[in-house]
Amino acid sequence: MATETAVPASGGGIGLTTREKKILKDPLWDNNPITFQILGVCSALAVTVQMQTAVVMSMALTTVVAGSGLIISSLREYIPSKIRIIVQLTVIASLVIVVDQVLKAYLFNISKQLSVFVGLIITNCIVMGRAEGFAMSNPPREAFLDGLANGVGYSLILLAVATVREILGNGSWFGIRIVPEFLYAHGYVNNGLMVLAPGAFIIVGLLIWAQRTIMGVEKHD
Protein backbone atom coordinates (compact mmCIF):
# COMPACT_ATOMS: atom_id res chain seq x y z
CA MET A 1 0.00 0.00 0.00
CA ALA A 2 2.63 2.50 1.07
CA THR A 3 5.72 3.04 -0.98
CA GLU A 4 7.41 -0.30 -0.81
CA THR A 5 10.60 0.91 -2.39
CA ALA A 6 11.66 2.66 0.79
CA VAL A 7 13.34 -0.03 2.86
CA PRO A 8 14.61 1.30 6.17
CA ALA A 9 16.84 -0.92 8.27
CA SER A 10 14.88 -2.98 10.74
CA GLY A 11 14.73 -1.20 14.07
CA GLY A 12 15.06 -2.96 17.39
CA GLY A 13 11.68 -1.75 18.70
CA ILE A 14 8.27 -3.36 18.53
CA GLY A 15 7.22 -1.23 15.56
CA LEU A 16 7.47 -2.93 12.20
CA THR A 17 9.29 -1.42 9.27
CA THR A 18 7.67 -1.20 5.86
CA ARG A 19 9.76 -4.11 4.68
CA GLU A 20 8.69 -6.22 7.65
CA LYS A 21 5.05 -5.37 7.02
CA LYS A 22 5.49 -6.52 3.45
CA ILE A 23 7.15 -9.74 4.66
CA LEU A 24 4.18 -10.35 6.91
CA LYS A 25 1.52 -9.47 4.36
CA ASP A 26 2.76 -11.06 1.14
CA PRO A 27 2.37 -14.75 1.99
CA LEU A 28 -1.21 -14.24 3.13
CA TRP A 29 -2.53 -13.51 -0.34
CA ASP A 30 -0.21 -12.19 -3.09
CA ASN A 31 2.37 -14.91 -2.60
CA ASN A 32 0.41 -17.54 -0.67
CA PRO A 33 2.48 -20.71 -0.32
CA ILE A 34 -0.37 -23.05 -1.26
CA THR A 35 -2.51 -21.19 -3.76
CA PHE A 36 0.22 -19.10 -5.40
CA GLN A 37 3.41 -21.12 -5.05
CA ILE A 38 1.53 -24.45 -5.03
CA LEU A 39 3.68 -25.82 -2.20
CA GLY A 40 2.62 -28.02 0.71
CA VAL A 41 -0.45 -29.28 -1.13
CA CYS A 42 0.02 -32.86 0.06
CA SER A 43 -0.72 -32.11 3.70
CA ALA A 44 -3.46 -29.67 2.68
CA LEU A 45 -5.24 -32.67 1.17
CA ALA A 46 -4.56 -35.03 4.01
CA VAL A 47 -5.49 -33.20 7.20
CA THR A 48 -8.44 -31.06 6.08
CA VAL A 49 -11.30 -33.51 6.60
CA GLN A 50 -12.05 -31.87 9.95
CA MET A 51 -11.40 -28.41 11.35
CA GLN A 52 -9.82 -29.72 14.53
CA THR A 53 -6.99 -31.57 12.80
CA ALA A 54 -6.51 -28.70 10.34
CA VAL A 55 -6.08 -26.19 13.19
CA VAL A 56 -3.54 -28.32 15.02
CA MET A 57 -1.65 -29.06 11.83
CA SER A 58 -1.60 -25.33 11.00
CA MET A 59 -0.18 -24.47 14.40
CA ALA A 60 2.42 -27.23 14.15
CA LEU A 61 3.58 -26.10 10.73
CA THR A 62 3.63 -22.41 11.65
CA THR A 63 5.75 -23.18 14.71
CA VAL A 64 8.20 -25.15 12.61
CA VAL A 65 8.54 -22.61 9.77
CA ALA A 66 8.93 -19.66 12.11
CA GLY A 67 11.29 -21.54 14.44
CA SER A 68 13.47 -22.94 11.68
CA GLY A 69 13.62 -19.51 9.98
CA LEU A 70 14.85 -17.96 13.22
CA ILE A 71 17.45 -20.64 13.95
CA ILE A 72 18.77 -21.05 10.42
CA SER A 73 18.98 -17.30 9.91
CA SER A 74 20.96 -16.93 13.15
CA LEU A 75 23.39 -19.59 11.95
CA ARG A 76 23.52 -18.45 8.34
CA GLU A 77 26.95 -16.84 8.49
CA TYR A 78 28.48 -19.91 10.10
CA ILE A 79 26.96 -22.63 7.93
CA PRO A 80 29.49 -23.97 5.38
CA SER A 81 27.68 -23.57 2.05
CA LYS A 82 28.49 -27.09 0.90
CA ILE A 83 26.48 -28.70 3.67
CA ARG A 84 23.86 -25.99 4.09
CA ILE A 85 20.88 -28.08 2.91
CA ILE A 86 21.60 -30.94 5.27
CA VAL A 87 22.15 -28.50 8.13
CA GLN A 88 18.78 -26.87 7.38
CA LEU A 89 17.17 -30.29 7.25
CA THR A 90 18.69 -31.30 10.58
CA VAL A 91 17.36 -28.18 12.27
CA ILE A 92 13.90 -28.61 10.70
CA ALA A 93 13.73 -32.32 11.50
CA SER A 94 14.65 -31.69 15.13
CA LEU A 95 11.95 -29.04 15.47
CA VAL A 96 9.36 -31.33 13.90
CA ILE A 97 10.22 -34.17 16.27
CA VAL A 98 9.92 -31.84 19.25
CA VAL A 99 6.53 -30.59 18.03
CA ASP A 100 5.36 -34.16 17.45
CA GLN A 101 6.46 -35.19 20.95
CA VAL A 102 4.65 -32.23 22.50
CA LEU A 103 1.44 -33.09 20.61
CA LYS A 104 1.65 -36.71 21.76
CA ALA A 105 2.02 -35.52 25.34
CA TYR A 106 -0.58 -32.75 25.42
CA LEU A 107 -3.04 -33.32 22.53
CA PHE A 108 -3.01 -37.09 22.36
CA ASN A 109 -6.30 -37.67 20.52
CA ILE A 110 -5.58 -35.13 17.79
CA SER A 111 -2.04 -36.39 17.39
CA LYS A 112 -3.52 -39.86 16.88
CA GLN A 113 -5.67 -38.52 14.04
CA LEU A 114 -2.83 -36.57 12.45
CA SER A 115 -0.70 -39.73 12.61
CA VAL A 116 2.23 -39.43 10.20
CA PHE A 117 1.40 -35.99 8.87
CA VAL A 118 3.10 -34.08 11.67
CA GLY A 119 6.28 -36.04 10.96
CA LEU A 120 5.89 -35.27 7.28
CA ILE A 121 6.18 -31.53 7.97
CA ILE A 122 9.91 -32.23 7.50
CA THR A 123 9.30 -32.84 3.82
CA ASN A 124 6.90 -29.92 3.41
CA CYS A 125 8.31 -27.75 0.64
CA ILE A 126 7.18 -24.56 2.39
CA VAL A 127 9.58 -25.17 5.27
CA MET A 128 12.61 -26.04 3.16
CA GLY A 129 11.73 -23.33 0.66
CA ARG A 130 11.64 -20.57 3.28
CA ALA A 131 14.83 -21.84 4.92
CA GLU A 132 16.85 -21.93 1.70
CA GLY A 133 15.14 -19.06 -0.07
CA PHE A 134 14.78 -16.56 2.75
CA ALA A 135 16.37 -17.46 6.09
CA MET A 136 19.81 -18.14 4.54
CA SER A 137 20.04 -14.58 3.22
CA ASN A 138 18.11 -12.45 5.72
CA PRO A 139 18.52 -11.46 9.37
CA PRO A 140 16.83 -13.55 12.11
CA ARG A 141 14.03 -11.13 12.93
CA GLU A 142 12.87 -10.94 9.33
CA ALA A 143 13.31 -14.69 8.82
CA PHE A 144 11.12 -15.34 11.86
CA LEU A 145 8.41 -12.98 10.58
CA ASP A 146 8.64 -14.53 7.13
CA GLY A 147 8.20 -18.02 8.57
CA LEU A 148 5.31 -16.86 10.72
CA ALA A 149 3.55 -15.24 7.77
CA ASN A 150 4.03 -18.23 5.51
CA GLY A 151 2.70 -20.48 8.23
CA VAL A 152 -0.36 -18.28 8.60
CA GLY A 153 -0.83 -18.17 4.81
CA TYR A 154 -0.75 -21.97 4.78
CA SER A 155 -3.14 -22.07 7.73
CA LEU A 156 -5.70 -19.80 6.05
CA ILE A 157 -5.97 -22.14 3.08
CA LEU A 158 -6.09 -25.22 5.29
CA LEU A 159 -8.89 -23.76 7.36
CA ALA A 160 -10.84 -22.69 4.27
CA VAL A 161 -10.55 -26.16 2.74
CA ALA A 162 -11.39 -27.87 6.04
CA THR A 163 -14.45 -25.65 6.52
CA VAL A 164 -15.89 -26.65 3.15
CA ARG A 165 -14.97 -30.31 3.56
CA GLU A 166 -16.30 -30.74 7.08
CA ILE A 167 -19.58 -28.95 6.38
CA LEU A 168 -20.30 -30.71 3.09
CA GLY A 169 -18.76 -34.06 3.99
CA ASN A 170 -19.85 -34.37 7.59
CA GLY A 171 -22.55 -31.76 8.12
CA SER A 172 -20.56 -30.28 10.99
CA TRP A 173 -17.94 -27.62 11.84
CA PHE A 174 -15.41 -28.21 14.63
CA GLY A 175 -17.49 -31.32 15.34
CA ILE A 176 -20.62 -29.23 16.00
CA ARG A 177 -23.60 -30.21 13.88
CA ILE A 178 -24.40 -27.53 11.26
CA VAL A 179 -26.75 -29.30 8.90
CA PRO A 180 -30.01 -29.73 10.87
CA GLU A 181 -31.47 -33.19 11.48
CA PHE A 182 -34.68 -32.51 9.56
CA LEU A 183 -32.73 -32.13 6.33
CA TYR A 184 -31.34 -35.64 6.80
CA ALA A 185 -34.85 -36.83 7.60
CA HIS A 186 -35.92 -35.39 4.22
CA GLY A 187 -33.28 -37.33 2.35
CA TYR A 188 -30.27 -35.01 2.50
CA VAL A 189 -27.02 -36.99 2.35
CA ASN A 190 -23.49 -35.88 3.18
CA ASN A 191 -21.20 -35.60 0.19
CA GLY A 192 -18.91 -38.62 0.39
CA LEU A 193 -16.45 -37.14 -2.11
CA MET A 194 -15.60 -34.38 0.35
CA VAL A 195 -14.12 -36.76 2.92
CA LEU A 196 -11.78 -38.23 0.33
CA ALA A 197 -8.59 -36.63 -1.00
CA PRO A 198 -10.09 -35.84 -4.45
CA GLY A 199 -12.63 -33.57 -2.73
CA ALA A 200 -9.78 -31.53 -1.27
CA PHE A 201 -8.08 -31.42 -4.67
CA ILE A 202 -11.18 -29.88 -6.20
CA ILE A 203 -11.50 -27.27 -3.46
CA VAL A 204 -7.81 -26.32 -3.58
CA GLY A 205 -8.15 -26.08 -7.34
CA LEU A 206 -11.17 -23.79 -7.03
CA LEU A 207 -9.30 -21.59 -4.54
CA ILE A 208 -6.35 -21.27 -6.90
CA TRP A 209 -8.69 -20.42 -9.74
CA ALA A 210 -10.53 -17.84 -7.65
CA GLN A 211 -7.30 -16.22 -6.49
CA ARG A 212 -5.82 -16.00 -9.97
CA THR A 213 -9.00 -14.58 -11.38
CA ILE A 214 -9.15 -11.90 -8.69
CA MET A 215 -5.44 -11.06 -9.03
CA GLY A 216 -5.60 -11.21 -12.80
CA VAL A 217 -2.61 -13.51 -13.24
CA GLU A 218 -1.75 -14.15 -16.87
CA LYS A 219 -1.21 -17.55 -18.40
CA HIS A 220 2.29 -18.97 -18.06
CA ASP A 221 2.92 -19.71 -21.74
Binding site: V87, T90, V98, Q101, V102, A105, G169, G192, M194
Partner: protein, 232 residues
Protein backbone atom coordinates in the same frame (compact mmCIF):
# COMPACT_ATOMS: atom_id res chain seq x y z
CA UNK B 1 44.91 -11.45 8.07
CA UNK B 2 46.28 -8.07 9.05
CA UNK B 3 43.57 -7.35 11.61
CA UNK B 4 43.11 -10.15 14.08
CA UNK B 5 39.38 -10.90 14.52
CA UNK B 6 38.31 -10.03 18.01
CA UNK B 7 35.90 -12.66 19.21
CA UNK B 8 35.54 -16.38 18.78
CA UNK B 9 32.33 -15.92 16.79
CA UNK B 10 33.98 -13.48 14.40
CA UNK B 11 36.82 -15.93 13.82
CA UNK B 12 34.23 -18.59 12.98
CA UNK B 13 32.53 -16.27 10.51
CA UNK B 14 35.89 -15.73 8.78
CA UNK B 15 36.46 -19.46 8.55
CA UNK B 16 32.96 -20.13 7.21
CA UNK B 17 33.57 -17.94 4.17
CA UNK B 18 36.13 -20.34 2.70
CA UNK B 19 35.59 -23.39 4.86
CA UNK B 20 38.27 -26.04 5.16
CA UNK B 21 37.25 -29.68 5.58
CA UNK B 22 38.00 -29.55 9.31
CA UNK B 23 35.64 -26.59 9.80
CA UNK B 24 32.87 -28.28 7.82
CA UNK B 25 33.20 -31.51 9.79
CA UNK B 26 33.40 -29.62 13.06
CA UNK B 27 30.30 -27.59 12.27
CA UNK B 28 28.36 -30.68 11.23
CA UNK B 29 29.38 -32.46 14.42
CA UNK B 30 28.27 -29.56 16.63
CA UNK B 31 24.89 -29.29 14.86
CA UNK B 32 24.35 -33.03 15.23
CA UNK B 33 25.21 -33.05 18.92
CA UNK B 34 23.04 -30.03 19.73
CA UNK B 35 20.07 -31.34 17.74
CA UNK B 36 20.27 -34.82 19.21
CA UNK B 37 20.44 -33.36 22.71
CA UNK B 38 17.32 -31.27 22.03
CA UNK B 39 15.40 -34.18 20.50
CA UNK B 40 16.34 -36.72 23.13
CA UNK B 41 15.63 -34.41 26.04
CA UNK B 42 12.19 -33.58 24.58
CA UNK B 43 11.45 -37.28 24.19
CA UNK B 44 12.69 -38.14 27.68
CA UNK B 45 10.96 -35.27 29.45
CA UNK B 46 7.62 -35.97 27.78
CA UNK B 47 7.80 -39.76 27.87
CA UNK B 48 5.99 -40.19 31.15
CA UNK B 49 3.08 -38.06 29.99
CA UNK B 50 2.89 -39.81 26.62
CA UNK B 51 2.92 -43.27 28.18
CA UNK B 52 0.15 -42.20 30.51
CA UNK B 53 -1.91 -40.96 27.52
CA UNK B 54 -1.50 -44.29 25.74
CA UNK B 55 -2.42 -46.20 28.89
CA UNK B 56 -5.48 -44.07 29.59
CA UNK B 57 -6.61 -44.35 25.97
CA UNK B 58 -6.42 -48.13 26.23
CA UNK B 59 -8.26 -48.15 29.56
CA UNK B 60 -10.94 -45.86 28.16
CA UNK B 61 -11.53 -48.28 25.29
CA UNK B 62 -11.70 -51.32 27.55
CA UNK B 63 -14.17 -49.46 29.76
CA UNK B 64 -16.15 -48.46 26.66
CA UNK B 65 -16.36 -52.06 25.48
CA UNK B 66 -17.68 -53.34 28.82
CA UNK B 67 -20.24 -50.55 29.00
CA UNK B 68 -18.61 -48.18 31.48
CA UNK B 69 -17.50 -44.62 30.81
CA UNK B 70 -15.67 -41.75 32.46
CA UNK B 71 -14.65 -38.35 31.16
CA UNK B 72 -11.46 -37.05 32.75
CA UNK B 73 -8.19 -39.01 32.72
CA UNK B 74 -8.24 -39.23 36.53
CA UNK B 75 -11.79 -40.62 36.53
CA UNK B 76 -10.86 -43.16 33.86
CA UNK B 77 -7.88 -44.37 35.87
CA UNK B 78 -9.89 -44.59 39.07
CA UNK B 79 -12.83 -46.40 37.47
CA UNK B 80 -10.52 -48.81 35.69
CA UNK B 81 -8.61 -49.62 38.86
CA UNK B 82 -11.86 -50.24 40.72
CA UNK B 83 -13.83 -52.27 38.20
CA UNK B 84 -11.46 -53.98 35.76
CA UNK B 85 -9.24 -56.95 36.45
CA UNK B 86 -6.75 -58.29 33.93
CA UNK B 87 -6.44 -62.06 33.55
CA UNK B 88 -4.47 -64.45 31.41
CA UNK B 89 -6.65 -67.22 29.97
CA UNK B 90 -6.47 -70.42 27.87
CA UNK B 91 -3.28 -72.28 27.02
CA UNK B 92 -2.15 -69.43 24.79
CA UNK B 93 -2.12 -67.03 27.78
CA UNK B 94 -4.43 -64.52 26.15
CA UNK B 95 -5.23 -61.20 27.80
CA UNK B 96 -8.71 -60.88 29.23
CA UNK B 97 -10.24 -57.93 31.05
CA UNK B 98 -13.04 -58.65 33.49
CA UNK B 99 -15.56 -56.06 34.62
CA UNK B 100 -16.81 -56.81 38.10
CA UNK B 101 -20.01 -55.48 39.65
CA UNK B 102 -19.86 -55.93 43.44
CA UNK B 103 -17.33 -58.73 43.05
CA UNK B 104 -19.39 -60.56 40.41
CA UNK B 105 -18.02 -60.75 36.86
CA UNK B 106 -20.34 -58.71 34.63
CA UNK B 107 -18.50 -58.68 31.32
CA UNK B 108 -15.36 -60.05 29.66
CA UNK B 109 -13.41 -57.89 27.22
CA UNK B 110 -10.59 -59.01 24.97
CA UNK B 111 -8.44 -57.36 22.31
CA UNK B 112 -9.39 -57.78 18.64
CA UNK B 113 -7.40 -56.83 15.61
CA UNK B 114 -7.53 -57.36 11.87
CA UNK B 115 -7.11 -55.75 8.47
CA UNK B 116 -9.43 -53.06 7.21
CA UNK B 117 -9.04 -51.25 3.89
CA UNK B 118 -5.97 -49.09 4.54
CA UNK B 119 -4.83 -50.22 7.93
CA UNK B 120 -4.96 -52.70 10.76
CA UNK B 121 -7.90 -52.13 13.09
CA UNK B 122 -7.36 -52.52 16.83
CA UNK B 123 -10.12 -52.68 19.39
CA UNK B 124 -11.82 -54.53 22.19
CA UNK B 125 -14.85 -56.79 22.15
CA UNK B 126 -16.78 -57.50 25.34
CA UNK B 127 -19.16 -60.41 26.00
CA UNK B 128 -21.58 -60.89 28.85
CA UNK B 129 -20.89 -63.74 31.30
CA UNK B 130 -23.07 -66.08 29.20
CA UNK B 131 -20.30 -66.02 26.59
CA UNK B 132 -22.92 -65.38 23.93
CA UNK B 133 -24.35 -61.87 24.20
CA UNK B 134 -22.26 -58.91 23.00
CA UNK B 135 -21.78 -56.35 25.75
CA UNK B 136 -20.00 -53.82 23.60
CA UNK B 137 -17.21 -53.10 21.15
CA UNK B 138 -14.65 -50.35 20.70
CA UNK B 139 -11.91 -49.45 18.25
CA UNK B 140 -8.94 -47.39 19.37
CA UNK B 141 -6.51 -47.46 16.49
CA UNK B 142 -7.05 -47.52 12.74
CA UNK B 143 -6.27 -45.54 9.60
CA UNK B 144 -9.56 -45.88 7.74
CA UNK B 145 -11.18 -43.16 5.63
CA UNK B 146 -12.80 -40.50 7.82
CA UNK B 147 -16.56 -40.48 7.27
CA UNK B 148 -16.53 -43.97 5.75
CA UNK B 149 -14.44 -46.74 7.30
CA UNK B 150 -13.61 -44.55 10.28
CA UNK B 151 -17.28 -44.72 11.28
CA UNK B 152 -16.33 -47.92 13.15
CA UNK B 153 -15.36 -45.75 16.10
CA UNK B 154 -18.68 -43.89 16.16
CA UNK B 155 -21.41 -44.53 18.70
CA UNK B 156 -24.12 -45.42 16.16
CA UNK B 157 -21.99 -48.22 14.76
CA UNK B 158 -20.83 -49.59 18.10
CA UNK B 159 -24.37 -49.49 19.53
CA UNK B 160 -25.55 -51.86 16.78
CA UNK B 161 -23.56 -54.65 18.37
CA UNK B 162 -24.97 -54.43 21.88
CA UNK B 163 -27.23 -57.39 22.68
CA UNK B 164 -26.35 -59.37 19.54
CA UNK B 165 -25.55 -63.09 19.94
CA UNK B 166 -22.42 -64.81 18.69
CA UNK B 167 -23.44 -68.43 19.41
CA UNK B 168 -25.87 -70.18 17.03
CA UNK B 169 -28.87 -72.13 18.33
CA UNK B 170 -27.04 -75.44 17.76
CA UNK B 171 -24.18 -74.27 20.02
CA UNK B 172 -21.67 -73.60 17.26
CA UNK B 173 -19.93 -70.25 16.80
CA UNK B 174 -22.04 -68.03 14.54
CA UNK B 175 -19.94 -64.92 15.20
CA UNK B 176 -21.25 -61.53 14.10
CA UNK B 177 -21.48 -60.60 10.45
CA UNK B 178 -21.77 -57.12 8.94
CA UNK B 179 -24.21 -56.97 6.07
CA UNK B 180 -24.56 -54.58 3.17
CA UNK B 181 -27.56 -52.40 3.85
CA UNK B 182 -29.94 -52.83 6.77
CA UNK B 183 -30.17 -56.12 8.69
CA UNK B 184 -33.95 -55.89 8.96
CA UNK B 185 -34.28 -55.77 5.16
CA UNK B 186 -31.88 -58.52 4.11
CA UNK B 187 -31.75 -61.13 6.91
CA UNK B 188 -34.46 -63.54 8.05
CA UNK B 189 -35.95 -62.45 11.42
CA UNK B 190 -34.74 -65.52 13.33
CA UNK B 191 -31.13 -64.96 12.29
CA UNK B 192 -31.03 -61.19 12.74
CA UNK B 193 -29.41 -61.58 16.16
CA UNK B 194 -26.13 -62.65 14.47
CA UNK B 195 -25.98 -59.70 12.05
CA UNK B 196 -25.39 -55.94 12.25
CA UNK B 197 -25.72 -53.12 9.71
CA UNK B 198 -22.56 -52.58 7.70
CA UNK B 199 -21.19 -49.16 6.79
CA UNK B 200 -22.33 -47.99 3.37
CA UNK B 201 -19.38 -46.93 1.26
CA UNK B 202 -16.97 -48.94 3.39
CA UNK B 203 -17.44 -52.50 2.16
CA UNK B 204 -13.84 -53.57 2.69
CA UNK B 205 -13.69 -52.18 6.22
CA UNK B 206 -17.00 -53.90 7.04
CA UNK B 207 -15.70 -57.18 5.68
CA UNK B 208 -12.53 -56.72 7.75
CA UNK B 209 -14.57 -56.18 10.92
CA UNK B 210 -16.55 -59.37 10.21
CA UNK B 211 -13.31 -61.31 9.79
CA UNK B 212 -11.61 -59.94 12.89
CA UNK B 213 -14.69 -60.62 15.03
CA UNK B 214 -14.74 -64.24 13.93
CA UNK B 215 -11.02 -64.78 14.49
CA UNK B 216 -11.15 -63.07 17.89
CA UNK B 217 -14.15 -65.09 19.02
CA UNK B 218 -12.56 -68.34 17.77
CA UNK B 219 -9.41 -67.55 19.74
CA UNK B 220 -11.31 -67.03 22.97
CA UNK B 221 -13.91 -69.77 22.39
CA UNK B 222 -12.09 -72.30 24.65
CA UNK B 223 -12.26 -69.86 27.57
CA UNK B 224 -15.96 -69.11 27.15
CA UNK B 225 -16.76 -72.83 26.80
CA UNK B 226 -15.09 -73.64 30.13
CA UNK B 227 -16.85 -70.65 31.64
CA UNK B 228 -20.23 -72.04 30.61
CA UNK B 229 -19.39 -75.54 31.88
CA UNK B 230 -18.49 -74.09 35.28
CA UNK B 231 -21.85 -72.32 35.37
CA UNK B 232 -23.75 -75.56 34.89
Amino acid sequence: MSEAPKTWLERMKEKAKTPKAAYTFGFAAIICIVCSLVVSSAATLLKQRQDRNVRIDQQKNILGAVGLSAETPEAIEALYAKRIEKLSVTDAKLDLYVRSDDGQPAAYAFPIKGKGLWSTLYGFLALEPDGDTIKGISFYKHGETPGLGAEIEKEWFKNNFVGKKCIADDGSLASITLVKGKVKDVIAPLLQKHFVDGISGATVTSRGVTALLRSGLEQYAPFFKTLQKEKR
